[in-house]
């Protein structure tokens, strides 16, 4: 079994990166090629996850400041 990694099938466009081709098994393409809409949706989801994680970090930082050093020592 030979599995090659994803390769670029078209010359790189400096303005707009070409979409990744599906991985190859031998001479046969397997997997999928994302459409432009799917790529846009994936990018939007990635940004949303990054923003959510960033917001969580900021929230924990601010609450730590609000509660002070005894943040883990409190009654139920």
């Amino acid at each position: 079994m030979t599995i090659t990694s994803a390769v670029m099938t078209e010359p790189a466009n400096e303005q707009k990166p070409a979409p990744l081709s599906p991985p190859l098994v031998g001479e046969k393409e397997v997997g999928i090629r994302l459409t432009e809409q799917q790529q846009r949706a994936r990018r939007a989801r990635s940004i949303a996850i990054a923003l959510a994680l960033g917001a969580l970090v900021i929230l924990f930082y601010i609450v730590t400041l609000v509660k002070g050093p005894g943040v883990l020592v409190r009654p139920l």
Partner: protein, 307 residues
């Protein structure tokens, strides 16, 4: 050796689909009632901690909505009211919705526990679990009492808000719980009276499907007769002032009048639609007046109310 790779169709879901998955309209009511529970609670909570509690409650409600849509995708696809949801339309896979719901549920409970308090977090966890395991997975498809018992999940947010401030429970949040609990049956049964075919097609044993419209109308009136005095209970018990009392009595009487109209109706859905629409306004007014009452009391217009 040959290897076969299979791929699910890559998702085209965007932010709007994930927001729809969290049932934003339900979430707004949850946040509002939780805010009231939080603001009428005695004691002090730092605004940042209070806002954190509300965000966690909102996210927890969103998680419950997402998990509900994941489990109910099959019946959502058969109902006109829900057929356009992200999973039935194929914009979101059930697996994505499940992962999203679990992540938000665990995240909201953990953050609430770490940053606010464990009692509020435990109550949020119970609320989400009750909505998913008891209402969605068990009652909804098996009994016409589904929304009566399942309504407990929707009634808990003010209790969580109260617990976020006090770290415990008291009579006041329990009264708010009971108001929402007894409000739920007339509200949803009024809706189901003019969506009976939709529910029947989906195989959901709502009361009009199982027992007929006549029995549903009778039960709506009975629950409304219990709800109206409960709505006035915050004033009668002394934790809301006369302004609240007047609004609760007037709107409670209006609820009863609309429920009587529904009871006396034999044809047409006008009275049911009016009751459904007014019930939303009724609940909103009761909780908004609790807030107004606090502000008025703080300004000393009617003297302080018991906290």
């Amino acid at each position: 050796m040959s290897v076969t790779y299979t791929h699910a169709e890559p998702s085209i879901a965007d932010g709007r689909d994930y927001i729809a998955l969290m049932k934003p309209r339900v979430m707004s009511l949850v946040v509002f009632t939780a805010l009231v529970g939080l603001l009428i609670a005695p004691g002090h909570i730092h605004p940042v901690i209070g806002a954190t509690a509300l965000i966690c409650i909102a996210v927890g409600a969103g998680a419950a909505g997402a998990l509900n849509m994941w489990y109910d995708a099959d019946i959502d696809a058969r109902m006109r009211r829900t057929a356009a949801r992200p999973i039935p339309t194929g914009r979101l896979t059930p697996g994505d919705a499940l992962a999203f719901g679990i992540t938000l549920a665990v995240g909201s409970v953990v953050v609430l526990g770490l940053l606010v308090n464990v009692v509020a977090a435990a109550t949020l966890a119970v609320t989400i679990a009750f909505y998913i395991f008891v209402y969605t997975m068990w009652l909804k498809r098996s009994t016409p009492q589904n929304i009566v018992i399942g309504g407990a999940a929707g009634a808990l947010p003010p209790v969580i808000g109260w617990a976020a401030v006090t770290g415990g429970f008291a009579l006041e949040p329990i009264v708010l719980f009971l108001i929402i609990f007894f409000w739920t049956p007339p509200h949803f049964w009024a809706l189901s009276l003019y969506r009976t075919e939709d529910y029947a097609r989906a195989g959901i044993p709502m009361l009009p499907v199982v027992s007929g419209a006549r029995e549903t109308r009778r039960q709506i009136l009975l629950y409304t007769l219990l709800l109206a005095p409960l709505g006035a209970a915050p004033w009668l018990l002394g934790f809301a002032g006369p302004l609240y009392g007047v609004v609760a009595l007037v709107t409670g009487a209006a609820m009863i009048a609309l429920a009587v109209r529904v009871r006396l109706t034999t044809e047409g859905h006008g009275p049911s639609k009016h009751l459904f629409a007014f019930s939303i306004l009724y609940l909103f007014l009761l909780f908004a007046m609790l807030l107004v009452d606090r502000v008025v009391a703080a300004w000393g217009l009617f003297g302080p109310v018991a906290a």
